[in-house]
Amino acid sequence: MKTLLIYGDSFGEETMHNHIMREKTMKFRTFHSDIRESGIFDQVIVYAQAATDLWDQYKIFNKTFTGNEYVLWFETDPLRFSGPDRSKYTNIATTISLMNSTTDEYIHTRCRAAVHYWMYLQDEFYVNFVHKTIIDDIHTRCKNLLILPCFNTSHSFVDECLAAIPGRELRYWNFSYEELERNKLCDLRRNHMSETNHAILGSMLVDYYKTGKVLDFNKFQDPVNEKVEKYFQSLI
């Protein structure tokens, strides 16, 4: 039985954790389908979850990896907060925005704690040391491992990362995150990518698992055949 386990953050997840967005986006095709349909693996299990830090995913890995599976890891930012209620405190910007919008005292207190942690207490060397230790351990234990850098701060980053794709697509559509915010629109791209780039990623991954050909991040393209309205919609 050949199994692929997928770990990581929102770049690797298969089902969006927001249920309204999930319903709207399930019709979009992702790289997961390409891998499944290639028939390379008998089973593909996706443990990646949006806004997860490496430590949380590593704990899931420790519980689920038996030693023989193929592993595809979407490596997140080392400075992502490693605390309880992870999806609430994914980065300082979203935490401040949640803190300012909530009337729930409990959530407000925890947001404030997380923001203060980032501002006053987080030690980047320490966080990077622990991150590297985890990545090294994953490398040691997995015979068939592919790690993709999601951010330019990810330790597997060389010259390109997946986080460059959403920005490239926005530039092509002449659209901006500010505009998104101003018009109260939601970014419905699954894994932050249009279907165009999902197809490219899917094809590169299938190629990698069939032939061992290294992924080329320069192959990602502008979504020339796709309309911006498809991915940016109001949920109200």
Partner: protein, 249 residues
Amino acid sequence: MKNLYIFGDSFGEEVPLAFPPNNNFHSRVMSLVSYHGIIRSSGLFSNVYTLAEGGSNFWNQFQVFQETLEKIKSDDTVIWFETHPGRLRSRCGHNLPNINSVEKLRSTLTFISDRADEYHYQHTLFGAAIDYFKFLQRDDYDDFAHISIKNFICKIRPDVYWIPCFVTKQNGLKHDQVLSHAYAIENFEFNKHIDVSVHIDLRRNHMIAENHKIFACNLIESIEKKVELKFDNFVKPQPSDCSIYFEKR
């Protein structure tokens, strides 16, 4: 002859951070017996360098170790007083090493609250640290980080002599015979006579002189004969010791 390097927290420090030279109690505290002096006079080492610091977390001491590493010769002895994994490491590091417990932070915060203008930065930091301990800290992450750092140190210096200071039960970090037993034994006795928590505690390394002597003997024996360090022969203090080691706040 070889040198001795000491890393760790308050159990290893030589000049108590709580009583620096400008403190009223400094000379009194420094006149008390400590195991450092006994080790020095044992003639086992030509020099004893103490880099341990009260309230220091494992990460900060690891940084100090890395900075010192090139001076440590291969035949020198390195002793490490291994602190609690849950102690907070922060970017403020050496400026505020005493970020180690909610209780301690609360009492410091109360003290500096009346001087908010003077201590604005510390006030914010302590508040952040209290929030961290209350809402964000995760034991499993701290334990993993602690074990990772320890493994890293062991790769560089497999001969580090580890002295566990606190009881920990996690896999890979299981300590039940620890140096803080002496502190617990002493506090139990002292509390029969005074309320330790409302007094200034002048004990060096959390031990009375008698236990410093015992610890020094245990340590020298363990290093010389390469036998396990004993933690089971610490003695109870006498009622008269109260006036030596405690002052009313």
